[in-house]
């Protein structure tokens, strides 16, 4: 049971860590932003609290100290400096490690932990530049007389269900006492008579008089996890410490006996007989209440805007919707056969609904790339520092959404591509200046939609790829013949061949095993494609083309020979009816339609169908990037919403069929991967040699 909660905590904490990193990056650019500092502080606070609750003691302790730093930053006692940000970044790494490991036991780990801890403490004591006085003042807890000390009256009136989420109010009081010197008053008058007691309910309320150097925020943060379950007010009683005098003691005693909460004004009269600033205090109170209201509403909004669901459940949902779509198709077939209007109407409605449901389920399984981008930023930042390079990393289109399975497969290849750019692409500042470039290198990461695909481009303005050296290397490795004529692009494509790596010395950063061949393999596993373009001295662009989703597509059902096939509608531009006489120039495999020359392939020929040719073939014009190609099919049967099912591992390497779909009558139609047909045609791999036109 507790393990389950621990796992959940780790999962949520990783979100917090993510948020923390994101805020740190933003802070690096805007060191004055109060909002960001607040966000960082809040993330740390949640980590600390949760860590203690779930037995991550090291984590809790560690973040506690870190939080102290940011508390001082928050109260403008420490300034944000690049040093501080770097320290926090490495601290974030340590936090991740602690989340993964739990409490540390290995000696190496503990050494590293203590080293980090030492750095943080140094920072706390040494402080940022300037302001050392105030730091030391707030660091030791000497009360009374210190200028920063104030006394507050805290009224903590929890609801009856406070205990149900595991909160122990006494711990909260302990936390308060840790902030300064306090005196707490408990009111027990709400406890019902014995037979009416619900043992799981809380009936007590508390008031605490606290003298502390900490701010109101700090006090409220103690209650951060229960603020929805209680009424809380923190009111200022005045400057300076709190002295327990017999008069005050009596006053408190009275309050407890009469079960009426102490009013701040009454206590104030008692404490500061001389100067009563009632007006000011009331203002203060109003302000705190308003503050609190705002905080709560922010939290609530956040709660509603998203929910957390196990990804397994989403997979299940998508599977079920797939089944539904298949069954619905069967229903439609049946209804048409019956010809009964009522059933036809029902079938149509079911079709509409299942289509909507499909789109919805499909959308749910999409997640924005944002979450992964943080890792990329981190990689570029850390690596460029390590290699002594200056790099500006610009991300565009981080809100593009992709199927989560695709994103999972995407991270490693992208990390590798970026590593290549930072390590091999971008030159050192002096080299750049010598080459007439600005000392700072640029890497652009751009994601955008193109038809049914998402394109991701990683561009750097580094030294580019030297085509000649690739060629030389390919020749030396026996991959190509010495006198082979290759275009610029063809040579670049050589680096995708397995066993090819352009750097002879392994730099320890990239070139560590995974080369571009692995990148291509990984990307093609999710039906994506990789291309590379580069000019020596100018830079390199790697482009990934990825499908939006893996499972459900709108398709066009066509007949080729004895089989039915599905062509994804997203890749279709036009459909033509063909007259045999139009194919007169069939030697070149070009058909002229609307005064346009279009290359085409006869799908019957590709599939080696022997069945009698159709008298009225039709042409399906497909497009991929700038390439277009007509696919000649026997007959176009109609539109078909289809669930693409995998064909099992034995057929995954099929050259043009990328999956299968079950039709309404239970028969199977194969899904044609048009991009592959285009590719194979342009490389002349098919028997019918055809060139594709470029526009």
């Amino acid at each position: 049971m507790i393990d389950k909660f621990k796992a959940k905590f780790v999962e949520e904490s990783l979100d917090n860590v993510n948020d923390l990193e994101e805020a740190l990056f933003a802070l690096e650019n805007d060191m004055q932003s109060k909002d960001l500092i607040e966000r960082i502080f809040r993330a740390m606070h949640s980590l600390k609290g949760g860590g203690a609750m779930f037995g991550f003691n090291h984590l809790s302790d560690f973040t506690h100290h870190l939080e102290n730093i940011f508390d001082k930053v928050r109260n403008s006692k420490i300034e944000v400096t690049p040093d501080l940000i770097s320290l926090t970044f490495s601290a974030v790494d340590e936090i991740k490690y602690l989340l993964e490991k739990g409490d540390l036991t290995a000696k190496d780990d503990l050494d590293e932990y203590n080293r980090m801890m030492g750095q943080i403490q140094n920072f706390l004591q040494g402080g940022g530049p300037g302001n050392q006085e105030s730091i030391s003042a707030s660091d030791d807890n000497t009360p009374a007389g210190d200028s920063g000390e104030k006394t507050y009256l805290i009224s903590f009136i929890p609801g009856e269900d406070l205990l149900q989420n595991g909160t122990n109010p006494l711990f909260l009081l302990d936390d308060l006492h840790a902030l300064g010197k306090g005196h707490s008053i408990v009111y027990t008058h709400k406890i019902p008579s014995f037979e009416n007691i619900e043992s799981e309910n809380n009936y007590c309320l508390w008031q605490i008089i606290l003298s502390t150097n900490e701010s109101v925020n700090e006090i409220k943060d103690v209650f951060i996890f229960v603020e929805d379950e209680c009424d809380l007010s923190v009111e200022e009683l005045g400057n300076g410490g709190f002295e327990m005098t017999p008069a005050v003691e009596k006053f408190i005693e009275n309050a407890r006996n009469s079960n009426t909460l102490i009013k701040v004004s009454d206590l104030k009269v008692l404490l500061n007989k001389n100067e009563i600033e009632e007006h000011k205090t009331e203002q203060g109170t109003e302000k705190t209440e308003a503050d609190q209201g705002r905080k709560k509403s922010q939290l609530k909004e956040h709660k509603i805007s998203s929910i957390r669901v196990a990804s397994r459940k989403i997979d299940e949902l998508v599977n079920l919707v797939s089944e539904l779509v298949t069954t619905q198709a069967q229903l439609s077939v049946y209804a048409e056969k019956k010809g009964d209007n009522d059933i036809l109407e029902l079938a149509e409605n079911v079709q509409k609904l299942s289509r909507q449901l499909r789109d919805n389920a499909f959308e749910i399984s999409l997640i924005p790339m944002q979450s992964e981008l943080m890792r990329f930023q981190r990689l570029v930042r850390d690596l460029s520092k390590e290699l002594g390079k200056e790099i500006e990393f610009v991300i565009e289109g981080g809100d593009i959404e992709l199927d989560k399975n695709i994103i999972e497969h995407l991270t490693d290849p992208l990390l590798h591509i970026l590593r290549n750019s930072v390590d091999h692409g971008i030159e050192k500042p002096d080299e750049r200046v010598a080459a007439g470039k600005s000392p700072k290198g640029n890497i652009y990461f751009k994601a955008y939609h193109a038809g049914a695909s998402v394109l991701i481009e990683v561009t750097d303005d580094g030294r580019g790829i030297d085509v000649e050296s690739i060629k030389a290397k390919a020749i030396s490795k026996g991959m190509i013949e010495e006198n082979e004529e290759l275009s610029h692009k063809e040579i670049l494509n050589l680096i995708f061949l397995s066993g090819f790596s352009t750097r002879d010395t392994v730099s320890g950063v990239s070139g560590r095993g995974v080369g571009m061949d692995v990148v291509r393999k990984k990307i093609s596993e999710i039906r994506g494609e990789v291309t590379i373009d580069s000019e020596a001295g100018q830079g390199t662009t790697v482009t990934l083309r990825l499908p939006l989703t893996l499972s459900i597509i709108d398709g066009l059902l066509v007949k080729i020979g004895e089989n039915q096939y599905v062509v994804p509608i997203a890749s279709i531009e036009k459909i033509f009816a063909l007259d045999k006489s139009q194919l007169k120039d069939s030697f070149n495999r070009v058909v002229i339609i609307d005064n346009e020359q279009l290359p085409y392939v006869d799908m019957r020929e590709i599939f080696k169908e022997e069945v009698k040719e159709s008298e009225t073939p039709q042409m399906v014009l497909v497009r991929h990037e700038e390439r277009r190609l007509g696919l000649m099919v026997d007959e176009v049967l109609g539109e078909h919403q289809t669930v693409v099912k995998p064909m099992g591992r034995y057929l995954t390497s099929h050259e043009v069929v990328s999956g299968a779909s079950i039709l309404g009558d239970g028969s199977i139609s194969l899904v044609i991967d048009t991009n592959r047909v285009l590719q194979l045609t342009s490389t002349g791999k098919f028997r019918g040699k055809t060139k594709t036109s470029k526009e």
């Binding site: 080696k608 169908e609 034995y650 099929h654 050259e655 299968a660 028969s667 194969l670």
Partner: protein
């Protein structure tokens, strides 16, 4: 060669030879349904079938093992195996006749000696004698590798 102990085997006939494989890997035995041809695949890959909404490739063991092809008849059957319990590893095998389930416990296994020149399958777990017939035990792992296109 002879690690075939405590196992339940399913025996079947292909051409005029008898074979067997681990019955625990067998999921279904079917009559021949409609098989959808997948173009541009090796001859042994007969196509795909729809089994309860899943697409399963079907291999003709006659072709895979280098025997001559014949028409399918009433005895012809598809044995669907799932070698590693993953749905995507499911594979249908067309055999001439499914024979019986054999408890291999205590059966004496000898090295297989058959001429398999034309076959994609060359290694067997062994051969045993049952009801005066020699039965060759197929190595599923080799079968699975051979079936990949």
């Amino acid at each position: 060669m002879s690690e075939q102990q405590d196992k339940t085997l399913l025996s079947f006939r292909v051409h005029d030879e008898f074979f067997a494989l681990d019955a625990m890997k067998v999921n279904h035995i079917l009559e021949i349904p409609k098989i959808t041809r997948v173009p541009n695949t090796p001859r042994f890959m007969k196509g795909v079938i729809n089994l309860h909404g899943n697409i399963i490739p079907v291999v003709d063991l006659r072709v895979l093992m280098g025997f001559s092809e014949t028409e399918y008849d009433n005895d012809t059957a598809i044995i669907v195996i799932t070698p590693d319990d993953q749905q995507d590893s499911s594979l249908g095998l067309i055999v001439d006749m499914v024979k019986e389930v054999i408890e291999a416990d205590g059966i004496e296994m000898k090295p297989t000696v058959v001429d398999m020149e034309e076959s994609h399958l060359k290694n067997f777990h062994g051969t045993f004698s049952f009801d005066n017939q020699f039965v060759h035990v197929i190595d599923i792992e080799e079968l699975v590798t051979a079936a990949e296109i």
